[in-house]
Symmetry: C2
């Protein structure tokens, strides 16, 4: 028979941190701390195996368990010198759940077990502190009542409310009907011993009426509590949490039974929290707060001002170091021991009971992004951890915070609206509601925020001119989000609580209170693209401060990762920025963004309105020098690194204006009638443009467009090569669903390349490939690879098609889909590995089987998402490509992915 109970006391525990499966996370950690000689209150852990037996028996504790518990209780009495149920010298205990994986708040806890009327009376005599005793007693009754006896907690709330009223009357305060107001007015701590005794009486009555009464026998209390914890493993919240976090229900929970200690037994008692390093800066200094004669919750409640731990110039004798020098010395020694042992910054909770120090908990401390990087790099310098470990310690997603200013949450007023954080950075500017206005004001030197229901390629010049972009619609991969990230503009999207009136030029933000906040044209506003918050006016910001640690970490990441990191960039400026941030090539240049320039859009429209192929060719002839110039600049910037250029992708109607005024302008410019233009625009309207006439479909029907683009790419490549620069162009065909489409495109490319090379007198090596962004293409990847030399996964569109989910429309139900556990996260942020990802995997396998040297990469927005990058490592992609500002994140995430893959292959990483 396996041991059902494992005991722990300082310097001596039956178990350790490696036994989380058996003892649960909390139990294993308590054992570990105890073994280290840390002063934890002694106790014992009932194993997760017992939980399994309990469940297997249909909710019955094993017969032998009671005997085991009694034996361990005797041992605990010896450890503490107190006795369970002895009024003269009572031992009080806590019972807590603790599963293998952390499930915060999901299961139950009961404190102060061992109290009954007699024990309470005895303890009052012993402590001479009736208020303390009856506060503990009423808490026990409420917790036991709700957790063990399953009485609704509002019953207990009503009794507390009566006590508060009585208190208010006693003090002659105005008695409010509003229960919550009353609770603010009369906190628990204000209630006198007499009132608390009344509450205890009330609670006893409730327990009597609803559940046959509170067991005065402490052993009955303990057994009831243990069973309740096991039962709580299968409560609705816990089951849902497990489903969402893929935690097997077989794991079960352990039960931790531990002696209670109290920091509120007088002036020689105290409680506090401590960090082994500064969680904000990462600096190496012991740091924390404490309060004498207090309980843990008092430190965080903010009613009393906590005191510093260490003596400082201003501590004025208040520090623990000065007040309780011995305790402080002991605490200091223990924190150092703990950090050394756990090899990471620790966050400790401690209590001093009548001069004796107890450590209640230690855990890896939460820290700012900046501290996270500094601590990881410092620990390597101190010889505590390896470089690989340091790389794994930093959350790649958080690096973003180190590169952009953010709103100072402590100093800022409440936000007036919240949307999805789409592109990081906090910026303040004057609200404008059209791209033209944005441009005009920016030219006058004004900072502006462009506010739109959604953006389209027509807004590009306005987005470029603005400091930030706010949209009411759209998700993480909407046009606004993708473009803003590419440009490095702050952006908040899908802010559904705002409505925008373009005519009046007003944005209205509905408040939960029902009120409306208006922001008018030209008024100052602030958006934080890292949090999604929107503020009225200018608000205080925190500038990023970055030491050399990040650079150091990036060097280690580059030396570690297998995958290359490229960037999605459409302009030389973006390419330059990305290059500086470490990009190793361009994975996606979206040529359509090049056509929206003021000089070019009329020619583009002329091309679209052309009656036949010859007229179209004439217009394209005019676009050719522009495109050639674009690509020449891009190739020069990237100096021999690969540059993947996607041929025209969006449906042509995206290039046409919609409003009557612009239509008229266009008609004039083109020399055609307005109805003619209107009819063409209407002709090009599509019900589902995402699934429409775009991508290679445009190229199949209008091969002259591809001809022009390929000619521009290869001419530029020849020019740069003749200048002596390296060039590595990759021509990429979007939205293919068959090999045949690629064959048709390859014919164009072959013909044009011969012509260009003859004309230029040089030959340039280039690659020809395709995006894989349709399920059919993924399934037929084998034969597509016969023609394509590379694949680049367009996971945005692949997600849209595989899941049948429009990124621009999903906002209305996607949040609910995440809450309800249908998706673990927004599939446009983190790749849906089982659906879209399965297609990526299939395409990799089939493509490689056909062409072993096939180059595989990804250029969807997932290329900058750490979780997705982990997946791309698994399927063996050669590179990821992401927005310029996510390049450092991708570099780190790729290194982490390499380390995880190595770990999975079984080689040691330390």
């Amino acid at each position: 028979m396996a041991q059902r109970i494992h005991r722990f006391a300082p310097g001596n525990a039956e178990g350790g941190a490696d036994q989380k499966a058996l003892l649960g996370g909390k139990g294993a950690n308590l054992a570990e701390m105890a073994n280290l000689g840390v002063h934890v209150p002694p106790g014992f852990t009932i194993t997760t195996e017992v939980c399994g037996q309990y469940n297997a028996a249909g909710g019955r504790l094993p017969d032998e368990l009671e005997g085991d518990i009694r034996a361990s209780l005797r041992w605990l009495e010896q450890q503490t010198g107190k006795r369970f149920g002895d009024p003269a010298n009572p031992l009080l205990i806590s019972v807590r759940s603790g599963a293998r994986a952390s499930m915060p708040g999901m299961m139950d806890t009961i404190l102060n077990l061992g109290l009954n009327d007699e024990v309470a009376a005895g303890l009052t005599r012993k402590t001479n502190n009736e208020r303390f005793v009856f506060d503990a007693y009423r808490r026990l009754l409420a917790m036991f009542g709700s957790v063990v006896l399953q009485i609704k907690s509002h019953e207990f709330d009503a009794a507390m409310t009566r006590a508060r009223r009585a208190h208010a009357k006693e003090r002659g305060l105005a008695v409010t009907e509003d229960v919550e107001e009353l609770a603010r007015l009369v906190p628990d701590t204000a209630l006198s011993a007499a009132l608390l005794r009344g509450v205890v009486d009330d609670y006893q009555r409730i327990l009597g009426e609803q559940a046959g009464g509170f067991p005065s026998d402490p052993m009955a209390q303990l057994l009831g509590a243990v069973e309740a914890v096991f039962r709580s493993w299968n409560n609705d919240r816990a089951v849902l949490y497990r489903r969402m976090h893929q935690i097997p229900s077989e794991w079960g929970t352990a039960v931790n039974v531990q002696a209670m200690v109290f920091g509120n037994l007088g002036e020689t008692s105290a409680t506090g929290v401590a960090f082994t390093r500064d969680p904000s800066t990462g600096e190496r200094r012991f740091f924390g707060e404490w309060l004498p004669n207090a309980q843990g919750e008092d430190v965080v409640a903010g009613i009393r001002t906590p005191r510093p731990l260490a003596k400082t110039a201003t501590s004025a004798g208040q520090s623990l170091e000065e007040s309780m020098p011995t305790v402080y010395a002991e605490l200091f020694e223990q924190q150092a021991k703990l950090e050394a042992h756990f090899r990471d910054m620790q966050d400790l909770e401690f209590t001093v009971e009548e001069g004796k120090l107890f450590l209640l908990q230690t855990r890896n401390g939460k820290r700012s992004a900046r501290a996270e990087v500094k601590i990881a790099v410092d620990l390597v310098g101190e010889g505590r951890i390896s470089r690989d470990e340091a790389l794994l310690r930093v959350d790649a997603d958080r690096l973003e915070q180190l590169m952009f200013p953010s709103v100072d949450a402590k100093a800022a007023p409440p936000a007036v609206a919240h949307g999805l954080p789409a592109s990081p950075g906090a910026v303040t500017g004057h609200a404008v509601f059209s791209a033209d206005e944005a441009e005009a004001r920016a030219e006058r030197g004004e900072d502006v925020i462009l506010v739109r229901v959604e953006t389209s390629p027509e807004d590009l010049h306005g987005m470029k001119a603005a400091r930030g972009v706010l949209t009411a619609r759209g998700g993480a991969t909407s046009h606004a989000a993708v473009v803003a990230r590419g440009m490095g503009r702050a952006c908040v999207v899908g802010c559904s609580s705002i409505t925008i009136d373009y005519e009046l030029q007003i944005m209205t933000a509905r408040q939960p209170s029902g009120e409306n906040v208006m922001i008018r044209l030209g008024e100052l506003m602030t958006i934080d693209g890292s949090s999604g918050a929107v503020y009225l006016g200018s608000v205080p910001k925190v500038e990023p401060r970055l030491g050399g640690e990040l650079e150091e970490l990036m060097r280690w990441a580059d030396a570690t990762r297998r995958m290359r990191v490229r960037t999605n960039a459409d302009t030389p400026e973006q390419a330059k920025k990305a290059h500086q941030l470490g990009a190793e090539g361009i994975g996606l240049c979206r040529t359509e963004h090049m056509f929206f320039d003021e000089e070019r859009i009329p020619v583009m429209r002329e091309m679209i309105l052309a009656k036949d192929a010859p007229a179209r060719r004439l217009a394209l002839q005019k676009l050719l020098p522009f495109q050639t110039g674009d690509f020449t600049a891009l190739f020069r910037e990237m100096r021999g690194l690969p540059v993947t250029i996607r041929l025209l992708d969006p449906p042509l109607h995206e290039f046409l204006p919609q409003d009557p005024e612009q239509l008229e302008q266009m008609a004039q410019l083109m020399g055609v009638t307005v109805p003619e233009v209107t009819r063409k625009v209407a002709d090009l309207h599509e019900f589902n443009p995402m699934l429409g006439h775009r991508g290679v479909r445009l190229a199949v029907t209008y091969p002259e467009i591809s001809d022009m683009q390929v000619r521009a790419i290869l001419t530029a490549a020849c020019v740069v090569q003749k200048e002596g620069g390296g060039v590595l162009p990759e021509i990429m065909i979007p939205l293919a669903l068959s090999k045949r489409e690629l064959e048709l495109m390859r014919e164009v490319v072959d013909r044009v390349s011969q012509e260009v090379f003859a004309e230029q007198g040089v030959t340039v090596k280039f690659k020809f490939g395709t995006m894989i962004e349709l399920p059919r293409a993924a399934l037929l990847a084998g034969e597509i690879a016969e023609t394509a030399e590379f694949f680049s996964f367009g996971t945005n569109d692949l997600t849209q098609t595989a899941l049948g989910l429009s990124r621009d429309d999903a906002g209305r139900f996607l949040p609910e889909y995440v809450t309800r556990g249908i998706f673990p996260t927004d599939p446009f942020v983190s790749l849906d590995q089982r659906g879209a990802g399965e297609l990526v995997r299939i395409a990799c396998e089939r493509g490689r089987a056909q062409r072993p040297e096939l180059s595989l990469g990804i250029c969807g927005e997932h290329g900058g998402d750490p979780k997705s990058i982990g997946f791309f490592e698994q399927v063996g992609l050669a590179y990821v490509s992401c927005s310029p500002f996510r390049v450092p994140i991708a570099r780190l995430a790729a290194a982490q992915a390499t380390l995880h893959a190595r770990g999975e292959r079984g080689s040691s990483t330390v």
Copy 2:
């Protein structure tokens, strides 16, 4: 060494019909006919293997081939009693390609080989018919010049034009500059021997100038022609054709060398065509036409009126039976022999050369749909073929023609426009441009055709009222097409050459000539939904005539097929019609169509505009009795057959009006402001509604809608069961992409079913399942089957998502995609088996692995397409569901699929 050449002569051939791989289709059939003793002109076939050798050698004939050809020529001279190249008694021969699979017009033919100046002179002396000889000679020169020497044919055309001009001048006709007009005025047959001799001289000169001259050596002519045929296997047309029809290029072509026979050598010569049965009615009578002293092309050219073969009351001595009784008797005997041998109605070509009958060709004759059914059933009655063969002989798609009237192509004026045939039947009515107008006129008893750019659910009442529907946009599965098929209304969609002006109420059809044809409101027009043609005014129609043969065939089909056939029906009328046509249940009832009724749509809109769930529930409460009534009627109609009901699928904005007038009406009715309504409509706008907030996503966010629908379904089921009728409801969840969505829906269904069964006092068995219409759902079918008891493949949406192709928008490029060989056919008509189909296959496998008893069916439009039905048999679906009027087609196609599957498993079908 394999035999390079196989000879054939009546009663004796080296080969037969089973040697198509080696001899090509034509060669094998000639051998087969010869072996039967049929009088074919003798000849020999150079095998496809030689073509392989020719290609393998980089386009060089094997050295031994010339010797083999010479030997076979000697044999052919013996057979015919003529000599190749002998001016006194010349043998003329033809050289024709003939591959294993028919590739009509793809490769080349050369006739009259063996002529040169001397032979022509000799033959003139022999036949005393200079015109005949020089007509043959100039044809040889033109064919040889273009096929063997690859001279552009316009060179020869110019020479002919000169001869025509000369003729016109000779006759004093007005000489037109228009070449085509001239060719109509002066046909080839009008040219005199002298003019033709001039043409021959001209041709000789062209050949001399462009290609070193025409080889006067007949053997050189023959070798050149043989090589040209082999070469033509790889011409562009042939390569494209092979790619489109998946014909391996390794097959190669054979070359058939055959003695020429001439029906134009005088009054004892003749030519004609014959059918062994009436190709129009299927009646068993020998039937055909002939002309004395004529060539094959004269019979079809229509310049001379052909005469009947058999003697009739009105034949007036003109029949072959009267003119050449011996030849007729021989022909009659041979046709009977051929039909008996090939066990199908034959279409023969024959030539009589100086009293001697030659059969040039026999093939299975083309026939009307009606004849196809009758002949197949008659042949079974005559003991010629088995029932299984009869089932396989009928093209299931053509059955449609037997159920609807069609335009009488012979009597009708030219069409003014052509669209896609979307729902069969030819109907005439007054043109209307709005659903309301359609309804108003229909109520007055007028027949109307509803003409729209496209239709939406708002047009339903107009479509119901109309006899036919014409749209300018959309494809085979557009809203108009799907709904019209369901309702049994004739429908033509995607008629892109028309433009519609709703304001002026005029439709304009652009003509190829550049002219426009207008059809105004109320003017009569005709559409033929079987051909896609649109006519001005009323045109003559052919009513379907149907004997008992179709019923007989259907009985055999039902006894043979494995798959069940259900129907897609939303109303009791549709269900009734489908039931009559043999449907065995409802595979898809689209509940959304029930909400567009005049009484209901305001309530539906009230529900959509509701501010919160309670308000929504109030509106739903009003819809409940309507839905319950709908389902009760449906269950009663289907009497215990399965009825699959899909919960609400389309995005809610489809139920809201768009135009200002209707918005105002709605606001009034709802008692809210117009801006409020407008904002709600704008709020619900989606960029890609196909990928938007619809299907189960609506049910997840508004579970109260599902609650109402499930309540209505189960209440109706209880009511009908209590009446003593059988009920088999299947509740179907649309657009699921995860198991979790189904779990959430299952909770609603379980709760509601308990409530309803308690209320009704009975329990009804029902099934719970889902549509599989998203790639992700197909990939995760295994776990989805844990919750779903059945899958119904929604292949319309699966095609849209797997291929990234909007059915409503694809019209702009889909035709080009088919022409360019990217798709073999429109993937919305015939399932894309390699893309969407692969997902169906995966889902079937994974679903069945999880739940072996899983019921699998399909309810997309492909359920009525014979080719797709063959695929569904392969993957083992239990049933297909299609529009009511395609049920007979599906029954036959399912039987054919069963037979094919049996054949593939190796068991005999005869």
